[in-house]
Amino acid sequence: MENNFFVDSGKLSEEALAKKHRLENDPSFRADHMKYMEGMDQIGTEIRDKVMTGMNAYDYDSYTAKDVMRALEHENCTIEDFKALLSPAAEPFLEKMAAKAQAETSKHFGNTVYIFTPLYIANYCENYCVYCGFNCYNDISRMKLTGDQIEKEMRIIAKSGIEEILILTGESKTMSSIEYIGEACRMARKYFRNVGLEIYPVNVNEYRYLHECGADYVTVFQETYDSDKYETLHLMGHKRIWPYRFEAQERAIMGGMRGVGFSALLGLSDFRKDALATALHVYYLQRKYPHAEMSLSCPRLRPIINNDKINPLDVSESKLCQILCAYRIFLPFAQIVVSSRESDTFRNGIAKIAATKVSAGVSTGIGDHESKYTGEETDADEGDEQFEISDGRSFDQMYSDMSGQGLQPVLNDYLYV
């Protein structure tokens, strides 16, 4: 079973359409995805080599129930144990894994759950990533917020009570320059206590600049660690360069960021291998930079505007739960974020087991917080969403739901020093 990602917009010129089709059908027409573009930092391949060796050697069908039981008995989860926990052999042990994961979460995080919200400030994109609503060939309403509009959005969000913000853009350095993003970070420091970024990967000196502007956390999703598969999904643009994306977290740490976030987009490729690679990426980077704070996300594919059939294929909720429990047992110190791509029931349940951070009051569109937060139509321009969310709970609702199930919502546990 495969997703059908290719959708032709009637608005594309003949020339554009021809180029799009050629990118889709002729691999030789696409740039070499393993070759750095001019100006991209190259910081060495040591971590990448380790992660890829581990992933390529992973034969999940070779693990047995015995391996899983042994893994569950061990006080310290080894890489081999983790591989067993991710394997099909662990599926019947999901309840036991959940209990162990819950104990680890409680040791490291108590009963706390962090709440944050994303803020998309622009949705222009120069990439053709076939599954993404922002891709440059998708016919959506594009927008980039002005400084005043960003400030207005931030004021509305801050008023709701949220203290941690994640600033996102589409991947276009031309439309959303480093300076533009830096300005948004400076503004965010006025309204929020904690500022994170989820933008296109940049060089060490650019991460340093953004850090000085007030951001301290950087999240970059690798989408898939299978570089051959990656090549078939990211057909054009800066994002196509797989190794440059892989090394983004390390460059962010080198640029002075306190913490970094990782993820594969589950449903794009073999999810077990992607989950293994994501965790190994965290594991090896933490060993190299022990002071850095690590966080993991676990997004599954979602429908987008103009393609409502996109789905996470074989990554069911139970499989997602298995992955998250395995992550928690292997990396007990890491923050685990579960986004509004998942349903309210799933998020409530997983927050009691393994997740430590949830988003609330989410919009993946541009400039629409006023209408979304007040429920009233406004005359402001709005840009379209990146994907459809599943859990639309407001901040207040999330706060009371989390408290209601015995968790302690935390709005901020961070100082910019």
Partner: protein
């Protein structure tokens, strides 16, 4: 026992239980004061940096001493900045230095802690450094002006008890400022054991915060700490490690 006071930087305390930060709620603070008898309460400055909980400072009775900590600091410079911020926020002059360069085990960095101790002690803070129990580093901290030494019993939040027991004992034997055992104390019996060894006070948080009945656990800690302290002051009786003692003295052959 009535005159048995805990002295920290010239301040006098009757209680030998200090509430740590970390897991943190109004219930926990109330119970720590009422049931565990805490007179000192740790506050993570980074955690109080929130609108929702700003009012928490107002809920702490005036006779309770606030102990802001520098968690989140990765080096001496950051710890110093956080301590100064705490002072500006009106948290008083006490500061617990926590410097971690390791996000996995959250083990303290002794070398950076010595540096921060010196700077903050010179600025008039009552400095309480959280440290890995190493005698040389503890001496350096005392020479730099530390008011207490706070060795970890085991990795923070691990509830593993006195994993570093032998090394804490060395600090108790050799260091002249109060030794406050911090991190890893998972149950009252472990707190009691540390007090029997001669520790001056115990800091705990997770053990209370995660208990089924918080007030009852808080009371249990109070009693365990008092029992351990009494046992230490009374001079522990003979504890036989292996088998029975010989009834004939080994030195009975001596006739001079």
């Amino acid at each position: 026992m009535q005159n048995d006071k805990l002295m920290i930087g010239g301040h006098e305390f009757d209680s030998r239980f200090i509430l740590g930060s970390g897991k943190y709620s109004m219930d926990l603070i109330e119970s720590a004061i009422r049931d565990a008898g805490a007179q000192i309460i740790t506050l993570a400055v980074r955690r109080t940096n929130t609108k929702k909980e700003e009012s928490i400072l107002d809920h702490i009775p005036e006779d309770i001493t606030l102990l802001p900590n520098t968690s989140g600091a990765r080096n001496a410079d950051e710890a110093v900045r956080i301590a100064r911020l705490a002072r500006e926020l009106g948290c008083g002059d006490f500061v617990k230095i926590e410097i971690m360069r390791d996000s996995k085990y959250l083990l303290p960095d002794n070398k950076e802690t010595v540096k921060a101790t010196e700077i903050l002690a010179n600025e008039g803070f009552v400095v309480m450094p959280y440290m890995y129990p190493d005698l040389n580093d503890a001496r350096d901290m005392v020479n730099a002006g530390a008011a207490t030494i706070m060795p970890l019993a085991s990795p923070i939040g691990s509830n593993k008890g006195l994993a570093t027991k032998e090394f804490i004992q060395i600090l108790i034997n050799e260091i002249d400022v109060p030794i406050i055992v911090d991190a890893g104390i998972g149950r009252p019996s472990q707190a009691c054991e540390a007090m029997e060894m001669g520790a001056d006070a115990i800091m705990a948080n997770t053990a209370l915060a995660t208990a089924g009945d918080l007030p009852m656990m808080a009371a249990a800690f109070r009693q365990a700490i008092e029992a351990g302290r009494k046992a230490y002051l009374s001079g522990l009786g003979r504890v036989l490690q292996r088998g029975a003692a010989a009834s004939d003295p080994l030195t009975g052959f001596l006739h001079d």
